[in-house]
């Protein structure tokens, strides 16, 4: 594990009765980074966040914050704050009092407190909303108030549980930008839960893809997209074509494969550790495949027939049928290349470079 871990989650297991919500989770989160937890519903994201906040304690394992174990520390004594999925804005208080809620114990002079609240109202771009009640705010505004209420305490870590989940698409995209902007301004470590892969890719410095109470892979968005560690991660992030096959020869750097529809093919051994005879999936992203009428001179190529096409403005999606496999291959082409229409399109060549291929153990 790296030394620069700010939050270290060490072999944490969380059981509810006989149900294991988190099974032996270990991960490190660095200081000042925007870290996302991405995964399908029920995979344990909220549970992990609640462990960090102190609302639950681990059944096994320990969590360290800045070097200190924090399992025994109750939520009101942790330098960690949370933005709840439902925002949990106090309905009986106005926006200013909501934001100032956590300042009571600091015993600041009123002028200093007002100044801090004003700063926060400015940061969340609601300078004139101080006197409003929660029920007079829109979803996006509530979300910002919840953010300000947590940030004013300058926590070491801010936890956000799907904070944008309830917003419509436009507002969501706008809030994503603002959230990233705010995180850079305040420099606080953010742990952000989402089940929207695009959101996680856009926002994160690093992210963990989770399934069944375990992280599958923890890396930068780019690394996760380009070099998924296994088939599940590859399926979860973006779309992917898989060709089933078998390793015929492996020498450490490259492998020879026998793959359905593509035949014998040499590919780089990205993850390493493949051995002859092993069943694998050859994964290729739709946008890494080029279409042409004649066989290109370089790269790998195979012939197919366009079965279906969808025109999406800047891109087109094609579904190409190959001999030997049932599922059509998805190809996503930039529309600066000629657009092909289905009845007359007919036969095409699919081609891709070496680096487009990723061999994943089954």
């Amino acid at each position: 594990m790296t030394q620069d871990a700010y939050i270290r989650i060490e072999n944490v297991t969380k059981r509810f009765g006989s149900f294991t919500a988190l099974g032996d989770v270990s991960m490190d989160i660095r200081e000042g980074e925007f870290f996302s937890l991405l995964g399908a519903s029920g995979c344990g994201k909220t549970t992990l966040l609640r462990l960090l906040a102190g609302f639950e304690s681990p059944t096994e394992g320990e969590i360290y914050l800045d070097g200190d174990p924090i399992s025994g520390v109750p939520p009101n004594h942790r330098p960690v704050n949370m933005v709840f999925q439902s925002y949990a804005i106090f309905p009986h208080l106005d926006v200013r009092d909501n934001i100032a809620y956590g300042l009571r114990k600091r015993k600041l002079p009123k002028a200093r407190r007002d100044e801090m609240v004003d700063e926060m109202l400015h940061l969340i771009k609601l300078p004139d909303y101080g006197d409003r009640r929660a029920n007079q705010l829109s979803g996006g505004q509530r979300q910002r108030v919840a953010l300000a209420r947590a940030l004013i305490l300058r926590p070491k870590v801010l936890l956000l549980d799907e904070p944008l989940g309830a917003l419509d698409k436009n507002l969501r995209e706008q809030m994503q930008l603002e959230l990233r902007q705010i995180q850079r301004t305040v420099g606080i470590t953010f742990v952000f839960v989402t089940h929207d892969q695009e959101e996680a890719l856009t926002l994160s410095d690093r992210m963990a893809v989770m399934a069944r109470g375990k992280p599958l892979q923890i890396d930068t968005p780019e690394a996760l997209y380009e070099r998924p560690a296994n088939r599940e991660v590859a399926e979860f992030i973006g779309s992917m074509n898989f060709f089933e096959g078998r390793v015929t020869q492996a020498d450490g750097q490259g492998v020879d494969l026998d793959v359905a529809a593509l035949g014998r093919i040499a590919a780089p051994d990205g993850a390493g550790g493949l051995s002859p005879g092993q069943r694998v999936a050859l994964a290729i992203r739709p946008e890494k495949i080029a279409l042409s009428d004649t066989r290109p001179e370089r790269g790998h190529a195979v012939r197919g027939r366009i079965q279906n096409a969808a025109y999406l403005g800047e891109r087109s999606h094609y579904y190409v049928q190959l001999d030997g496999i049932e599922a059509p291959v998805a190809v996503s082409a930039n529309n600066s290349a000629p657009v092909r229409h289905v009845p007359e399109a007919g036969e095409v060549w699919l081609s891709w470079p070496d680096e487009a291929m990723r061999v994943l153990a089954e």
Partner: protein, 274 residues
């Protein structure tokens, strides 16, 4: 009738029903103020003439004032204690999964359906067994038993409407459970607490049977009234007293409805986007 919609037609029967219902309900009650101003000690038509003498006599009766004072004391103690117990119970019932919760809650609500006379006798036997002298304290104890289930029933919906993440948010922002209760839970459930205080006070204030069994030498207002009924010439004064109580009750009920509505509006009104 032409052009009336189905709903309009059916409302005629309903209106008639409502009017009849109100007459049956309030006619006997309206006799109280009516005869309290009647210049005769007999409760009979025709009316004899207008007088406020009964009110004046009632006002100058020290026994009545003593009984009223006792009832207010018992009522306030009952209201505060049963509402406090109700707050803890409602919080526990709505927030925690307790083992055997269903039967437990049913058991707590049992005094609602046990006949008061049985309750009164039971407590009386218990008290004499324990050698506790009868007093306003034993009356208060009996009233607590009667009122706490009402307090719980009034408060549970309030606590159910309280989003648990509000309390978590407060803890997250650094407050311990007591401060969280004071700064979040209490203000949010406050209208329910007011409603419970008013309801339990009213129940205690006019409770007769249990008070009759458990009161010592000091009587509460219902017992005082009951005692007066034995003397025909006291009856008009009792009517005057009853009329005043009626008026005060109306004011209290409207006040509590108004408070509850106001509370609902600040909490439940959906957010307005601009």
């Amino acid at each position: 009738m032409k052009g009336d919609s189905y709903i309009d037609r059916s409302s005629r029967t309903l209106t008639l029903y409502a009017v009849l219902f109100l007459i049956v309900l309030y006619l006997p009650i309206l006799f109280l103020p009516l005869f309290s101003f009647n210049d005769s000690i007999y409760i009979a038509f025709p009316l004899q003439g207008f007088t406020t003498a009964w009110y004046a006599q009632m006002w100058e009766n020290p026994q009545m004032w003593a009984a009223l004072g006792n009832s207010v004391k018992v009522g306030m103690a009952t209201a505060v204690i049963s509402t406090a117990l109700g707050v803890f119970a409602a919080k526990a019932i709505t927030r925690y999964r307790l083992p055997g919760q269903g039967p437990l809650v049913g058991f707590m609500m049992l005094p609602l359906v046990v006949p008061l006379i049985i309750l009164g006798v039971a407590i009386l036997i218990l008290m004499s067994r324990l050698g506790v002298p009868l007093s306003l304290y034993t009356v208060t104890l009996g009233h607590l038993l009667i009122c706490t289930p009402f307090a719980i029933a009034t408060l549970i919906p309030r606590f159910e409407g309280l989003d648990p993440s509000l309390e978590e948010a407060s803890a997250d922002l650094g407050e311990n459970i007591w401060w969280t209760f004071w700064r979040v839970t209490f203000p949010v459930v406050y209208p329910g607490i007011i409603a419970s205080l008013l309801l339990t006070f009213t129940i205690s204030f006019d409770e007769f049977i249990v008070a009759f069994f458990l009161a010592g030498t000091e009587q509460t207002l219902p017992i005082y009234i009951w005692n007066q009924l034995r003397f025909p010439r006291e009856l008009p004064k009792v009517l005057a007293l009853a009329s005043v109580i009626l008026l005060v009750s109306f004011v209290v009920v409207f006040l509590s409805l108004w408070l509850t509505n106001r509370g609902n509006r600040t909490l439940v009104q959906p957010g307005k986007d601009q």
